[in-house]
Structure formats: structure tokens, C-alpha cells
């Protein structure tokens, strides 16, 4: 989405002031203390400041759930939609206004359950937008029900004896969709990596799917605890075309160079369960972008009337 970032020259010409990260926060987030959504919001604010996004040229679209409150807290246009349907709304916005920066925030229930059909197809459309799938492995807002990404055995109000099915892996699923163009995973407890991943997603021209692993302090605080405490259980995928943060080298000993253009390796890595992997699994900047392949020249009102009048000839009596 870098193509429309405004240059400093533009800023001067418009006499606009430089915005810092806090300028992008409209109001304080009302999530529980310790919620991973705060980390995502902070990273987004940093990204917006870095790219100097214009609040009035940026749209955040969301579904329903804790994470979908996101647009209310960002200084931008926002559309807080209905459960599972953020992606169709965002697709419509992008088709109508390709020049706007579009971000989508949705939870694991939104994306992998009630809106799963849209997830597959939006991936395939490959419209240019950054998609934050805030995955806390649980339905939080409705107070603790099992989601498709809830680990097998984890107890919830709807699975008091533990989730009966193996968790759905959103990376495997997304990487399986034809025309997927950007698939990454990051985590709320590694803010530097989260920010760098969102930056890469923003730079990618196309549908950038970022799964953000995040803790729900109320219902899934334990799920990622091992990984939070022991960085050795996490492997970073690094590459110049993906994410490579030198500052993390000391903390994360396990690092793997992975070319994000290699879809076979990406799929193989997504299927491995030995470690948690963060980084860009797949990225292809040359996939066709939906709003670009559907773009048609603008036609003036007068010309439309003239063409339609001509069209009537076919039906003339």
C-alpha cells in the first residue's frame, strides 16, 4: 500500500503538520488490561505515523468482537460492521475508492468461523488491504466460548471438558487459497516484530493477511504463556523480503532464513508443529490485485447518457 504514502514535499505544499503516533489515537481503547489488542493498536499508530497516513484517506473496517472495536480508537474513518463480514465491506470500500488505505481488523471468530467463506474469497480477490486477524484463540466479548483456533483440550464455557477438535490453523488455510499473496504471523508479546510485520504488510501491494497471536488476559492467558516466557520455543522466519529485525537476534536464538516467495516451503513450515514460527511465510508482490484488474476508465455523465441512448437502439420499436 506504499504507493499513495504522501511525500514530505506534499506535506509542505499542503501545509499539513507532521502527525506523531499519538495523533492517530482517537480515544483510549476500552479493552481489558493486558489485552493483546493494545499492542496491535500501538503498532498501527506507529505505522501510520511512519507512513504519515492521512486520517481522512484511511479506513478501518471491522467485524464484531473485542478486536472489532479497533476502528473506534483510531483517528481515521471506520466501519464497525457485523460479525464475520468485515472483508466484504472492506472489498466494497476498496473497489469504490482504490486510492484509500484500507485496514481490516477482525478476530478469530470473525475470520475463521462465521466469516470463513469471506476469508477464503477475499484472499483470492487479493484486494490491496492490510488484514489484522487478532487471534486470541477464544470468543472473548461473548465471554469465553471455544473458537476454531482454540487449542484442543482447552476448556471454555462451551467446552467445559476441553475443546474436542484440533485447532484450525489459519496459516495453513490461507496458504492453501489460490492467489494468496501475503501471509504472515506475529505476536503481541514481541512488539518490535509486530510492528515490522505490519510494515511489510503495508508495503505489500495486495491482500496482506497477518495473524496476530495475542493473549486474552481473561480467558486464554495460559495459551501462549510458555512462548512468552521462553523465546527458545519460537523460531523467527527472516528474509530481506519478509521481516528481519536485527534487534531480535539476541532474544530469539532460533532463526531460519525463509524466502517468502517459496510457497512450498511456506506451506511445509505452516504445517510443522514443533515450534511457534513468526515471520512472513509467503509474499508475492506480483499477484493481480482485484481493484486494479477490475478498474475501468471513468466516463462523464454526458457520455453515459449518450451511450445509453445508443444502447436503446437495440431495443427500439
Amino acid at each position: 500500500m506504499s504507493s499513495i504514502a504522501i511525500s514530505l514535499l506534499d506535506l509542505e505544499a499542503d501545509n499539513r503538520v507532521c502527525l506523531d503516533a499519538e495523533d492517530y489515537q482517537k480515544r483510549p481503547g476500552k479493552w481489558c488490561a493486558g489485552c493483546g489488542d493494545f499492542g496491535a493498536l500501538n503498532a498501527i499508530k506507529r505505522l501510520m505515523a511512519k507512513e504519515q497516513l492521512q486520517p481522512d484517506k484511511t479506513v478501518f473496517v471491522s467485524g464484531i468482537g473485542c478486536s472489532s472495536r479497533f476502528p473506534h480508537y483510531v483517528n481515521a474513518y471506520g466501519f464497525h460492521g457485523i460479525h464475520g463480514r468485515a472483508l466484504p465491506i472492506a472489498t466494497g470500500v476498496k473497489l469504490a475508492r482504490p486510492e484509500l488505505d484500507v485496514f481490516v481488523t477482525m478476530g478469530d471468530g470473525d475470520c475463521t468461523s462465521i466469516g470463513a467463506g469471506h476469508w477464503i474469497h477475499a484472499t483470492r480477490y487479493n484486494a490491496n488491504m492490510v488484514v489484522l486477524m487478532l487471534d486470541n484463540n477464544i470468543y472473548g466479548l461473548t465471554k469465553n466460548q471455544t473458537s476454531p483456533t482454540t487449542p484442543q483440550g482447552h476448556t471454555s464455557m462451551t467446552s467445559p471438558r476441553g475443546a474436542v477438535l484440533p485447532a484450525l490453523d489459519p496459516l495453513q488455510a490461507t496458504l492453501g487459497v489460490s492467489n494468496a499473496s501475503f501471509v504472515a504471523q506475529t505476536a503481541d508479546w514481541v512488539p518490535v516484530h509486530l510492528y515490522a510485520t505490519l510494515q511489510a504488510a503495508y508495503d505489500h501491494p495486495g491482500f496482506s493477511f497477518v495473524r496476530i497471536l495475542q493473549r486474552c488476559p481473561k480467558f486464554t492467558a495460559d495459551v501462549f504463556q510458555k512462548n512468552v516466557e521462553n523465546p527458545d520455543l519460537t523460531e523467527l522466519l527472516v528474509h530481506e523480503n519478509g521481516v528481519d529485525v536485527p534487534a531480535l537476534e539476541q532474544l530469539f536464538k532460533s532463526r531460519r532464513t525463509h524466502d517468502p516467495l517459496n510457497i512450498d516451503d511456506a506451506r511445509a513450515l505452516a504445517h510443522r508443529t514443533d515450534m511457534l514460527r513468526l515471520g512472513v511465510f509467503f509474499r508475492d508482490d506480483n499477484r493481480p490485485v482485484y481493484e486494479e484488474i477490475r478498474a475501468v476508465p471513468k466516463v462523464s455523465a454526458e457520455e453515459k447518457v449518450a451511450r445509453l441512448n445508443k444502447e436503446f437502439e437495440r431495443y427500439a420499436v
Binding site: K26, P55, D56, K57, T58, V59, F60, V61, I64, P71, H72, N75, A76, Y77, G78, F79, H80, G81, I82, R85, L87, P88, I89, A90, T91, G92, V93, K94, L95, A96, R97, E99, L100, G117, H118, I120, H121, R294, V296, P297, K298, V299, A301, E302, K304, V305, R307, L308, N309, E311, F312, R314, Y315, A316, V317
Partner: protein
């Protein structure tokens, strides 16, 4: 069959005729009828056509369930409905003909042109069912003429199934003295993407049909046309809606395939890109609504097109558009329901679900075009209402309008219809996203890109600033403002015009596509001396003003609709249990008038004679005071 034809034949003058072309599915009845209907229209006749289509693409041939066909009613005057029974039928086999006989679709003295290849067919079983069919139909005085459709077509093409229809078209051209050059032009247009020899073969078939009829038939009919001094176009309702969408400046049609609405998107897919717009075929009905709402939120004029089952799926999204006050036009081409129902057939069963099919209070505008011409203009009207009132407008057409072909005054296009929805100038300081005028509920729309206007719209209850609010007063204010807009819109409407006297014994009230049949039946009743008038509603939500006063001028009021209602006198059906037709429900609640109804849901348009019969029954109640 007559062998000695005396030439020249004197054509019989008739004011109108109804012709059926009935074939196995896949034998081209639609194409033949479509060209014939268009030709009649282009020659200045009034026309109405109705498709007879099975839901399957090509069900097993030569069975009563494989019937595919088309009915063309055409006449000197304007034709507004499919009429009663057919006077001439072309049938490619005995079984499809039998299906029409069983539906009582053929007039007692109907002329039937039946393929001659069956009565002495080599297969004994085929001969047996043929004989049985002929026997069953002998109760009527049909004039049965055997025609070698298959044999003649084989002289020109290898596969007669792809040629008989054009041979039949040629025969019709001769019987009704149609201008063959008009037919040729249409054939050339239909096959414009095929090799030239396809067009040539088809024209050859037509000419051979003309020659055969000239040689062998002893009758012709002449249906005069009245010269008209205005430009006219002829098309079906889905084409009219598609062109209307373009005329209305719509640039985004998001849809998912569903019968009988899909052909709107076919039409749009063909041309909308040359108007700077697009058809987005979404992954499902829900997404189609979402994309349309997203595009409208972004400032495009957006439409979604569907039918009943799709409406059900879009419900939650419609609520979101209503709650966020994002303008949206929804075209629902109604079909038979519930569930999958009758996908290819007509019904008017989505009225109440369109008005109320929603959790919470979700006021929306519902309009029902009464003719194919109104299918066109309602798109322009709908856009204007949707944008002025920041609301959802549902247009209810149906399978009858969708596939029926009728000519109408060529619309005078207005360049203002194409204007972008709103300007992009900066949002004035202090203007809130829902700056409701407390009298009218209207507010200025702000869309992304407008400097200084950033805010988040939400399906949650919200205040004027679009902030989520659970405060009792702000929730009630939002409800009030969304509802008030409908009342304000209603204040711009005028009372409906009546067909017939302003007062009388019975007022027949209909909505949407049934106008033509109702008016025809009412005219018959009036000619028979009854004090009956008709009132056809277009605006269903809000309802047109003055209804209660109008109803008070009639001794009885009865709705006529193509949907289900309980029949008084049936087991368990009492005043307490009787469920009324959908418009009757609505009008009873709206006016507190004891409105009766006669409804029918046969999966086909209403017949004027059936309406007439029920008008008479209403005029003369039986001993229990219950209409027969």
C-alpha cells in the same frame, strides 16, 4: 389436416391473439418466442410474453415435466398481462402439449400445430403415449394440425433440435404476416458472436417455415397496429431494471447468481464497464450485500440484486445499512417460496419479509413496479430516495415482470441522474456524522476522503457523533430519527389513482406486477354492470397516503395477490385463524378496515378470468356470507 388450400387466403382480422410455443427444454422455444415477441412489438403491436421454464436445464425429453416454452399475447392495443388462454399453439411433441392442456392453458378452439413425427413413430411405446395424449385432449375442440417440424428442419440442419424453433418462427411469421426482415436482423444480433453461417442457417430455416405455411395452411390472422407518434423500446423487466440501473448512475452491482434475478446481472455485466461501473459476483448473497454497502459507504451508487432466498441471507446486512444510514438499493425479483420454493415461477410472497424481516426496528422503503416500464424508472427513483433519506430501498419485482416482454415509451434520460452522490469538500467544523434534523431525521452524509470528517460508523446503537451509546435517550432518538424519515418521505407521495369510479361496491387492491390482469378483470366486471374499481399500489413502505379515506368510499375492499392466504370455510379456518394475503395483512393493520383478500399461488401469473370470477363471487356472497 387440410390438403387442398384455396389461394389466396383471406386473413381473419382479430384484435389480439395469444400464442404458445411449447417444446422440450433445450429446443429453443425461448429464442423463437423472444424473436417473435420482439418482432410483433417492433411492428407496433402491444405485446406481453411469459416464459414457461422448468428449473432444470434439460430435463428428460418428451415428458410432461420437460415442458419449456413461451406464451406471447399480442394485439392492436396495449397488452398489460398474459391474458387467459392461448388461441394458437406450436408443440414439438404430444407430451409437452398435454402438460399445457392439463393446466387448462389452451382455448377450447385452439389451433394446435403439432409435430407429425410422433403419431406413426417406429417406437410402439411412443405411439401408445401419443394416442393416449390425443385421447385425453379430445375433450376439447382443438384444431389439431400435424406439421413436419423435425423432418423439414433436417433438410437444413443435422440436429433438428437446433432448428425446429426457427422453422416454427417462420410459420408464425407467415400466419401473422410478420416482417421477415425484422426477424432476420434479430437473428443476426443473437448470433453475432457465432460464425456467419449460423445466422445464415437460421434465416434459411425461417424462410423454409414461411414457405411451408404458405403452401399448407388455410388460415392467417391479421392484427392491426395503431400508428404511434412516440419512440418506444421493447424489453423484459430484468433488462429494464439493468438499463434503469445505468440510467440511475449506479456504478456497482454486487450480486450472487439466483433465479430469476440473475439476468439483470447478465445484462449489466455486458455493458456496465463501458459506463465506468462494475458487476462484482460475490462469493455468496451475504457478501454481495456487504460489498454493495462498503461501496456505497465509499461513495459509489451501489445496487445488489437477488431473489427471496438471497433476501433472507442479506437480512443482517440490510439492518446494518439501515442502522448506519448507508444508502442502498436492493432489487428483489420475487419467486415462489418458502425455502427453495419455485425458483423459476412468479409469486408475491416477499412483501412482509421485505418490510419486517429483521430483528429490531429497521424501517426501510419498499416499492413495487407495476409494469416493465416502471422496472426501469424505479431504479432512478430508488437511488434518489436512498440517497436523500440515507436509507435502504427495496424494489420488489417478480418472475412475471423479469421475463415478460413489453414495449414502452423510450425513457428521456436526464444527465442529472448520473451525478456523483455527494461532493468531497471538507466537512464543516462541528458537523457531526448524524446531525439529525430533529423534525425530519435527515442528516448530511459524510464519506471517507472528506477532510476533517473522520468518524466510525457502527451497527451498535450510537449517538449523533456515531459514538457507541447505550444511553436510553440516544437509543430512542436514533430509532425515532430512522423511522421519521419514512414519514417525511410519505409526505411527498400523493394518493393512488383509481381505475374506475371513485366509489362503488368493491375496490380491488393489488400491488406490483398484477396491475394489468386486475385492470382487465375489473374492466370486464364494469362492462357487466358491476360497480368495481381497481387500485394498484406501488409504495408499500411507507404506504401511499389517503388509503383509509379511499377505502371508505367502497362497500367492500379486497386485495388480489399472488401469495398464500387461508380460504374461509376450509377445515379449522375461522375468523380467528384465517391468515390473509400479505397486502391484506398490511392494509388491515394500517387502516383498521375489514379488508378481504383473494390470493392464489399457482406459480404462474394471475389470469384476468380468475380475478373476474372472484370479483363476481365477492359481489354475490353465498348464504354464509362467505365468498365462493
Amino acid at each position: 389436416m387440410n390438403t387442398a388450400v384455396i389461394r389466396p387466403i383471406e386473413a381473419t382480422d382479430v384484435p389480439e391473439h395469444t400464442v404458445e410455443i411449447i417444446t422440450n427444454s433445450g429446443e429453443g422455444a425461448q429464442k423463437c418466442a423472444q424473436i417473435f415477441g420482439q418482432t410483433c412489438a417492433k411492428m407496433g403491436n402491444g405485446v406481453w410474453t411469459v416464459e414457461i421454464i422448468p428449473a432444470e436445464i434439460e430435463p428428460p425429453h418428451h415428458t410432461v415435466t420437460s415442458t419449456s416454452g413461451n406464451i406471447i399475447r399480442f394485439g392492436t392495443e396495449k397488452i398489460t398481462n398474459w391474458g387467459d388462454q392461448s388461441k394458437l399453439a406450436i408443440a414439438f411433441n404430444d407430451q409437452v402439449l398435454l402438460s399445457r392442456h392439463r393446466l387448462d392453458s389452451l382455448k377450447d378452439d385452439c389451433i394446435i400445430l403439432l409435430d407429425s413425427c410422433w403419431h406413426d413413430h417406429e417406437d410402439e411405446e411412443i405411439r401408445r403415449v401419443y394416442d393416449e395424449a390425443i385421447e385425453e385432449m379430445s375433450s376439447k375442440n382443438y384444431r389439431m394440425i400435424l406439421v413436419p417440424f423435425e423432418e423439414e428442419a433436417l433438410k437444413i440442419v443435422d440436429n433438428p433440435s437446433h432448428g425446429k424453433n426457427m422453422f416454427a418462427l417462420g410459420m408464425l411469421a407467415e400466419i401473422y404476416q410478420r416482417d421477415v426482415s425484422i426477424i432476420e436482423k434479430q437473428i443476426a444480433h443473437i448470433f453475432r458472436f457465432k460464425p456467419a453461417k449460423v445466422t445464415e442457417k437460421n434465416i434459411e430455416l425461417v424462410k423454409s417455415g414461411v414457405a411451408w405455411a404458405r403452401e399448407n395452411l388455410d388460415f392467417q390472422f391479421r392484427i392491426k397496429s395503431i400508428p404511434f407518434d412516440e419512440e418506444r423500446i421493447v424489453m423484459n423487466g430484468n433488462q429494464a431494471a439493468a438499463l434503469g440501473a445505468i440510467a440511475a448512475g449506479m456504478e456497482m452491482c454486487a450480486m450472487y447468481p439466483i433465479t430469476p434475478a440473475t439476468s439483470v446481472s447478465h445484462e449489466l455485466s455486458e455493458i456496465i464497464e463501458s459506463y465506468g461501473g462494475m458487476v462484482h459476483q460475490a462469493e455468496d448473497e451475504i457478501a454481495a450485500a456487504g460489498v454493495a454497502i462498503g461501496a456505497s459507504y465509499g461513495g459509489k451508487v451501489a445496487l445488489t440484486v437477488t431473489s427471496g432466498p438471497g433476501m433472507a441471507l442479506k437480512t443482517e446486512f440490510l439492518g446494518l445499512a439501515i442502522m448506519t444510514e448507508v444508502p442502498l438499493v436492493v432489487l428483489d425479483v420475487q419467486r415462489g417460496g418458502p425455502s427453495t420454493g419455485l425458483p423459476t415461477k412468479v409469486e408475491q410472497s416477499d412483501l412482509l419479509s421485505s418490510l419486517f424481516g429483521q430483528h429490531g426496528d429497521a424501517p426501510r422503503v419498499v416499492i413495487a413496479p407495476r409494469s416493465i416500464e416502471e422496472c426501469f424508472h424505479s431504479m432512478v427513483t430508488a437511488r434518489r430516495i436512498a440517497e436523500t433519506f440515507r436509507c435502504v430501498v427495496i424494489i420488489l419485482t417478480d418472475a412475471n415482470l423479469a421475463t415478460g416482454v413489453q414495449q414502452f415509451t423510450r425513457p428521456a434520460l436526464d444527465v442529472r441522474w448520473q451525478q456523483g452522490p455527494i461532493d468531497q469538500s471538507p466537512v464543516p467544523e462541528g458537523l457531526r456524522p448524524y446531525e439529525w434534523d430533529l423534525d425530519t431525521g435527515l442528516s448530511q452524509r459524510i464519506i471517507p476522503g472528506m477532510p476533517g470528517g473522520q468518524h466510525t460508523v457502527t451497527g451498535l446503537a450510537h449517538d449523533e457523533e456515531s459514538l457507541v451509546s447505550y444511553h436510553p435517550s440516544s437509543n430512542e432518538l436514533g430509532m425515532k430519527m430512522r423511522s421519521r424519515k419514512l414519514a417525511v418521505f410519505q409526505s411527498t407521495l400523493v394518493p393512488p389513482e383509481l381505475h374506475g369510479e371513485e366509489e362503488g361496491d368493491l375496490l380491488v387492491v393489488g400491488w406490483g406486477s398484477t396491475e394489468g390482469a386486475i385492470v382487465e378483470a375489473v374492466d370486464q366486471a364494469r362492462a357487466a354492470g358491476h360497480k368495481v374499481s381497481a387500485c394498484q399500489l406501488t409504495f408499500l413502505s411507507p404506504l401511499e397516503p389517503g388509503l383509509k379515506e379511499i377505502f371508505s368510499r367502497f362497500r367492500k375492499v379486497m386485495t388480489v395477490e399472488i401469495n398464500y392466504s387461508d380460504t374461509p370455510g376450509d377445515p379449522y379456518i375461522t375468523d380467528e385463524t384465517r391468515r390473509y394475503g400479505q397486502l391484506a395483512w398490511l392494509l388491515r393493520a394500517h387502516t383498521l378496515v375489514d379488508i378481504d383478500c383473494w390470493t392464489s399461488c399457482p406459480g404462474q401469473p394471475l389470469r384476468p378470468r380468475d380475478i373476474y370470477t372472484n370479483i363476481l363471487a365477492k359481489m354475490e356472497p353465498n348464504e354464509e356470507g362467505v365468498a365462493a
